[in-house]
């Protein structure tokens, strides 16, 4: 069961390991990212940040989709982590369970505008966000669980 789907370009870090994981009783962190899945160094680093007693899975986006749609994943309380709006779109197209997406952190880059303290989006991102909204998926901004939810549609 997916307890939270989060976009965070630092993937597993303090907010994830130290606030979200305990607050939601997560027992499995699933990082869905094609690049990281092939990068041993990144995998090693993420493994260090894994909170004790929690399983860490690092899969490519297609593999993550397969795993999430497999019955094996049903017994876990999953925090699904991606680092881009694009990846979350791919996941939500294939995994019906994703009905709400948490925007945790997307750093500013060339051509991106800041819509919230820790969130910057490009025009391409905005187009995807509108599509997700059209599908009726909840898109909320919170860095840590005790923040108040801000809805993306009010920030664009």
């Amino acid at each position: 069961m997916i307890k939270l789907t989060r976009i965070d370009d630092r993937l597993v870090h303090g907010q994830v390991a130290f606030t979200w994981t305990p607050a939601l009783g997560i027992d499995c962190l699933l990082v869905a990212n094609d690049k990281v899945a092939k990068d041993d160094f990144q995998k090693m680093a993420l493994g260090l940040a894994k909170p004790s007693g929690v399983k860490l899975l690092i899969k490519s986006v297609p593999d993550a989709i397969t795993w999430l749609n497999d019955t094996r994943s049903a017994n876990h309380k999953i925090l699904l982590l991606v680092n881009s709006v694009k990846d979350v779109m791919a996941l939500s197209n294939e995994v019906a369970e994703i009905q709400s997406i948490n925007f945790g952190g997307i750093r500013g880059k060339e051509g991106a505008v800041s819509i919230s303290k820790a969130i910057s989006v490009t025009e391409e991102d905005t187009a995807i966000i509108r599509e997700l909204l059209k599908k009726g998926i909840e898109l909320e901004v919170r860095q840590v669980p005790t923040d108040n939810k801000q809805m993306i549609e009010n920030l664009l």
């Binding site: 303090g14 130290f18 606030t19 090693m44 493994g47 004790s52 899975l57 500013g108 303290k117 005790t146």
Partner: protein, 532 residues
């Protein structure tokens, strides 16, 4: 009076300068409270107010861009107003909470607007002007202490008189109610901590801590000692980490990354240069902003090394631009990344074939995960123990509270931070790989959570006092309910209240509502003589 206002302003400035001083927690109310009390001639009250405020703001932690209420401004002003008008901790609390929430909004605005300097930083980097970058990092960093100092001073100068007559007009029953309500608020702090640390696996340790405190009346420091021993015993036993198979992790040797920072042919950086990475890392957060976060702090720290490694304008400019990219990690472990980065920069300067892209790849690859490790360790364990021990002494008016608080947190912090600089430089990423393979991190985080949670468990029993004056039976011949409770489970009321608030936190009730709810409960309980 003007002199004491100026001194109090300087205390606020000191608190806000913490970002230059290694995030050493000297900004906490536990530390600043006694300073304000001392300036105003009532050190004792300052200590108690500081301890009380610390309890309530205990669960407010700073991770990433999640900015908690500005307890520096709120705490300093609340303490000052309360002492100036001859009131106690309850009034300080009632003032500190709204002030810190207002001040937090101002700080957020500052962190947003600081981004305007980023263009100037890049312009300096373009022409290799590292001096410009250092200067702007410091100047922009000074904005926070100066701005908040100015606000503190204005609030004192303009508000002290009004505040006194306002506080004097508050009727006595409100004061009593506030006191009882104030005694309840720490439950919110504990509940927020539990929200981060409590789970089924480690729950017994929470109750162990509670029982040691409630029945055996052990002081928090002794419980911390027991916690440490138990954590060591539990993590030494084999298989205690309950490690699963980790199916998706097999077969990685990390050979591709093993080369970073090793086998250097010659070395341009000496011990002194590495030590400077550590000293400069203390100002990592000085220019925190919401666009690029700690980037200029990282550049500021590594500039002395870059100066030695790159002598041409072009190579310097490239290096500066590299380190002005987005960066954010836990300050407590930042030196590990600085050390690794310095080793890679050194290699880059020696070897023309070195892939300079890999420097940022390693930096950005490590900043998130290491923030996870060090934030948990420092906020979840060291800060909790330090605050537990510190507040338990401070609420009794003992100045040792503030001193032990700083020592318990900073002795391990600074030792680790200093040594990690050298570890990072010498062993590079290989150090991390051996950590990852040995599962030592898992044991460490598990042990740390046991230790932290035992201290949290002790808190409801030692740090809040909520008692009931109710009695069972007739008015005169009745038996005090509290006396009966004390014989069965001492501190059951604080424990119950903590769990009640924890439950509300779990079902996502907003912190502000919980705060108000506790205030109302305290007031009503006090007026109806259910609580005292």
């Amino acid at each position: 009076m003007l002199l004491s206002f100026i001194l109090i302003t300087l205390i606020a400035v000191l608190g806000h300068s913490e970002d230059f001083l290694g995030t050493t927690l000297l900004s906490r109310p536990l530390v600043l409270g006694p300073l304000v009390g001392w300036v105003l001639g009532d050190l004792h009250l300052g200590i108690i107010i500081g301890g009380t405020l610390e309890l309530i703001f205990m669960g407010n932690i700073k991770v990433g861009a999640a900015i908690p209420p500005d307890v520096i401004t709120g705490g300093v002003l609340g303490t000052a107003f309360a002492i100036l008008s001859g009131k106690g901790a309850a009034i300080a609390l009632a003032l500190a909470i709204p002030i810190s929430i207002l001040a937090e909004m101002l700080l957020s605005a500052l962190f947003v607007s600081r981004s305007v300097f980023n263009k100037q930083f890049i312009a300096y980097a373009e022409c290799g002007n590292y001096r410009g970058i250092q200067r702007l990092h410091i100047l922009s960093g000074l904005l926070k202490p100066l701005l908040m100092g100015l606000i503190t001073f204005l609030a004192l100068q303009l508000g002290a008189g009004v505040m006194k007559s306002f506080l004097d007009s508050i009727p006595a029953w409100v004061n009593t109610g506030l006191q009882v309500a104030g005694n309840m608020l720490p439950a919110l702090g504990f509940a927020l901590l539990m929200n981060l640390m409590f789970n089924k696996r480690v729950a017994p340790y929470f109750f162990l801590g509670f029982m040691l405190a409630a029945y055996l009346k052990l002081p928090v420091i002794a419980i911390g000692g027991f916690g440490l021993i138990i954590a060591l015993l539990v993590t030494q036993g084999k298989g205690s980490g309950a490690e699963e198979e980790e199916e998706d992790f097999e077969g990685e040797d990390g050979a591709s990354a093993g080369a970073h920072g090793l086998d250097r042919p010659a070395s341009k950086l000496n011990r002194r240069d590495i030590r400077r990475l550590f000293t400069r890392s203390l100002a990592l957060e000085a220019n925190f902003n919401f666009e690029t976060w700690q980037n200029t702090g990282f550049a500021f720290a590594i500039i002395p090394a870059l100066k030695k490694l790159y002598t041409t304008k072009d190579s310097m400019s490239k290096a500066l631009k590299r380190h002005l990219q987005f960066f954010n990690t836990s300050p407590y472990g930042s030196t590990l990344i600085l050390g690794i980065t310095a080793a890679m920069e050194e290699q880059n300067s020696l070897d023309p074939d070195f892939d300079s892209e890999s420097i940022n790849a390693v930096k950005t690859g490590l900043m998130g995960p290491l923030a996870g490790v060090f934030d948990s360790l420092f906020w979840g364990t060291f800060k909790v123990i330090a605050a537990g021990v510190g507040t338990s002494l401070a609420i009794k008016g003992n100045i040792l509270g503030a001193i032990l608080f700083l020592l318990i947190f900073n002795v391990p912090h600074l030792l680790l931070r200093y040594n990690l600089t050298f570890t990072g430089y010498k062993a590079g990423t290989r150090f991390l790989q051996s950590l990852a393979k040995s599962h030592v991190m898992d044991k460490l985080t598990y042990g740390a959570s046991i230790l932290g949670l035992m201290v949290v468990g002790a808190m409801p029993a030692t740090l809040i006092s909520i008692r009931t004056p109710l009695s069972i039976g007739g008015r005169d011949s009745g038996v005090g309910l509290q006396g009966i409770l004390d014989q069965i489970v001492p501190s059951i009321i604080p424990l119950g209240l903590t769990f009640l608030v924890y439950y509300f936190v779990k079902i996502h009730i907003k912190t502000t509502y919980l705060l108000l709810g506790l205030l109302v409960l305290g007031f009503v309980g006090s007026i109806s003589h259910v609580f005292a």
